[in-house]
Point group: C2
Chain length 191, copies 2
Amino acid sequence: MTVESYTLKEAMIYSQRIAQLSKALWKAVEKDWQQWIKPFNLNINEHHILWIAYHLQGASISDVARFGVMHVSTAFNFSKKLEERGLLKFSKRDDDKRNTYVELTPKGAELVLRMYDHYLDTEHSILEGSLALKELYGRFPEFLDVMAIIRNIYGEDFIEIFERSFKNFKESIEEKDKDQVVIKNEILMNK
Amino acid sequence: MTVESYTLKEAMIYSQRIAQLSKALWKAVEKDWQQWIKPFNLNINEHHILWIAYHLQGASISDVARFGVMHVSTAFNFSKKLEERGLLKFSKRDDDKRNTYVELTPKGAELVLRMYDHYLDTEHSILEGSLALKELYGRFPEFLDVMAIIRNIYGEDFIEIFERSFKNFKESIEEKDKDQVVIKNEILMNK
């Protein structure tokens, strides 16, 4: 146990800085994400639900809500819409009668994978905005400070689910042999 | 000029990681921000407009929109509401007849400052979630990689305005002698 002290001034400046940075970052992410998924007639919550259900190989509605950072009612209502479109199905598990689970139908799984074939059809400002860092560090940034804060706020299991879903995501696109495709980008340095 | 290459796989994994991290971060920021400003009957856009107009010592509607990362119509409509409440006033500048400017009324300025007296009335999960990093590094994290990406997406002048508003913010709270107040937090290490 340790005692940490900081001034109210420091705290307010820090928290307003992260608030405004995080708003600007999220608005750019949101725009990229919306443009990519719009041709598939999905909104961000719907795509996020499909993504989670796919990469966790089935998930309870409360897992979807928690990991997708949305209300349980939002997770449930959008899951219903996805079910109506034949992309998702609801189920109960024998070992957990209380929770409702969702998993993708073959049509839903096919859609999730097919969307990656169209990843480059739209602009990804975040990706372009990160290329100079990739150039500098030899890899894309990992945002370890942001990860640490999210771990403290949402809990260790949030990060575990996060990493598990990305492990599965990585494997699913490896199967598609996507890594054969090399993109070249010309970056005008000192622009 | 340099040629940068990366695989589509790398790009997709990176951009989905930052998308989901940024969503989780923003949702936590949004909740903290809303809880703090709710007693003052403001929403995030309204508070952001007041903040920008205050710390830039007057701003055009298009500056507010750009720097607040909101549509021009959103900036205009919420500014109108703030004007109706007597917190903000519209004006034209002699050297720039085309743009509409907003600046705070004395009542608006008083509100912006008074809100800081109530900063600790509500929970700030982001701040609490950052204390372990503060402990480790001796200072709050600066998110330089996020800043670099935002600079690339929104432009150098976005960052300049950002830093200018924070400089003014810092001075305005120094005047209030807020840094006399020291907060002590007990952190249970290895929890």
